[in-house]
């Protein structure tokens, strides 16, 4: 009997909603209660420093190139020792989509995502973050990493003397 089946189906649905009526809501009242996002949550972008306190960013423009919405812009400069740095570095958070491609592209672990998701403002210009707003004092997610210990101009030790590095192969040698 299809009528019996239909009535059973409707009652089943009514019973399901009845149960949910007394269930604790899954949502939380936001400004009063806040969820702690997971540590790898992608939100506000920061520029980190190496363990010695120097800027990690070498102004290679890879983040800017990777950014699908073109919200990162910078101007590269060069110090006396030949190392590059960003003269200015700007992220427009009103355009940023928090995709994390910049952090993925960064070869020096300078640009990183933080779980600070509360980025909103009535003044759109206040979402334009300059270098001094972005640069933090810590190392972020890579506390040990210093780019110049591995490579780059003015690398700390001669070739083969840096951590995780083997001495250069003598290409003229006969030993395989």
């Amino acid at each position: 009997m299809s009528v019996v089946k239909d009535i059973a189906a409707v009652s089943q649905g009514m019973w399901a909603t009845w149960k949910h009526l007394f269930r604790k809501p899954l949502t939380i009242p936001y400004p009063e209660q806040k969820r702690t996002p997971p540590p790898r949550y992608r939100a506000r972008i920061v520029l980190t420093r190496d363990p010695q306190g120097g800027e990690r960013c070498v102004a290679c423009y890879l983040c800017s190139a990777a950014c699908p919405v073109d919200c990162i812009s910078m101007q590269a400069g060069e110090r006396e020792n030949g190392r590059r740095y960003a003269e200015w570095f700007r992220i427009n958070f009103s355009r940023c989509i928090f995709c994390g491609l910049c952090a993925e592209a960064c070869p020096t672990m300078a640009i990183q995502m933080t779980p600070d998701y509360e980025l909103c403002s009535r003044d759109i210009m206040s979402l334009l973050y300059e270098k001094e707003d972005l640069l933090i004092d810590g190392c972020g997610k890579e506390p040990e990493y210093n780019f110049y210990r591995h490579a780059g101009i003015g690398v700390v030790n001669p070739r083969g003397g840096n951590p995780d590095e083997q001495p250069p192969v003598d290409v003229r040698g006969l030993v395989p």
Binding site: G13, T17, H20, L21, R23, L26, T27
Partner: protein, 329 residues
């Protein structure tokens, strides 16, 4: 010849009913939003006032301060008149609903019913027919295709379900031998008609859902298909009137259903007024609960259900009731 005090009493009753059911309708909107939210494991509006209790006030302020738009090419007078034609019949229906036992006050007997018409059932049916005009004319006068489609669907739906509603009330009238709602309530002093006529109650309830244009029969306003159906072009207070009219309809038809099938204000232990309110609110709850559960019917399914299922069943029910009344000693 009614004296001045009688007239004053009637005015007082009208005023009380107006205030109570209007504020109840406003709060029902909030209740619906919160209950739907709970059903969907959400919180619902809980910002304005404690537990969101001042939300109706905020909604009212919002609706009053919005611009009253009238689309170009709309039929001016019908467009302005339609929201009132949707809301007023709902309020008028309450005039014949007895909501409590007569009260003795200062040597007078005050019946808790605005007017005891001896054709109360017909009055109710007539007013629910007039409510069709609000939807149809509102949809037609808007000069918009969505509104027109909504209006036409509403017309077809409401006229069809009017029939089922009338047929499901016939057994009640047969049992009572009266069209007066007061007599119908009096006849249920011991046993509500729900127990005699469960099938008629079910039919009546389904047609109530259709008459209120509630899910699963919210075809005239079907958001996902027709924007907002017949009130697509309305804004501000006129939209509010349509909106509140819908909730007024729920309350009033809940009251009517309680009167016809649940014994009106009769009930043990508690005062009659409390029983009546409890029954009306129970109906409102079931309406909201149904909305939270059932999906919308298609237009042809709606007509199929009405003409091929409900109407024959209602007619059969009338025949069985008649047969039972003739063989009854």
């Amino acid at each position: 010849m009614p004296d001045l005090i009688d007239i004053l009493i009637i005015i007082a009753k009208l005023g009380t009913i107006l205030v109570v059911i209007l504020s109840l309708a406003a709060n029902l909107v909030l209740a619906e939003r919160r209950m739907l939210a709970w059903i969907q494991d959400r919180q619902g509006p809980n910002r304005v006032g404690p537990q969101g209790l001042l939300q109706p006030l905020a909604d009212l302020i919002k609706l009053v301060t919005k611009e009253d738009l009238r689309p170009a090419g709309a039929d001016k007078w019908l467009f302005l008149l339609a929201p009132a034609m949707a809301a007023i019949p709902a309020m008028l229906t309450f005039a014949v609903v007895p909501f409590g036992s007569p009260v003795h006050l200062l040597g007078r007997v005050i019946t808790l019913q605005v007017v005891d018409l001896n054709v109360g059932v017909l009055f109710f049916m007539a007013l629910s027919s007039i409510a069709v005009y609000g939807i149809t004319l509102g949809g037609w006068a808007s000069n918009s295709k969505y509104a027109l489609l909504g209006g036409i669907r509403g017309l077809a739906q409401l006229i069809s379900y009017e029939l089922v509603m009338g047929l499901s009330l016939v057994p009640v009238v047969m049992l009572t031998h009266s069209f007066s709602l007061n007599e119908i309530v009096a006849a249920q002093a011991t046993v509500p008609f729900l127990l005699y006529q469960p099938l008629a109650f079910l039919l009546f309830f389904i047609s109530l859902l259709a008459e209120c244009k509630r899910t699963p029969f919210d075809i005239p306003e079907a958001e996902s298909e027709l924007v907002a159906g017949f009130h697509t072009e309305y804004s501000g207070l006129r939209f509010g009137l349509f909106f509140v009219g819908e909730y007024l309809n729920i309350i009033v038809l809940g009251g009517v259903a309680a009167t016809f099938f649940l014994g009106g204000w009769h009930g043990p232990f508690l005062p009659p007024l409390v029983w009546f309110c409890a029954k009306v609110l129970a109906f409102c709850f079931v309406f909201i609960w149904t909305r939270g559960t059932l999906p919308r019917l298609r237009s042809d399914q709606l007509m199929h259900l009405c003409w091929k299922v409900l109407t024959p069943v209602a007619l059969g029910n009338i025949l069985c009731t008649g047969w039972w009344l003739t063989i009854k000693p």
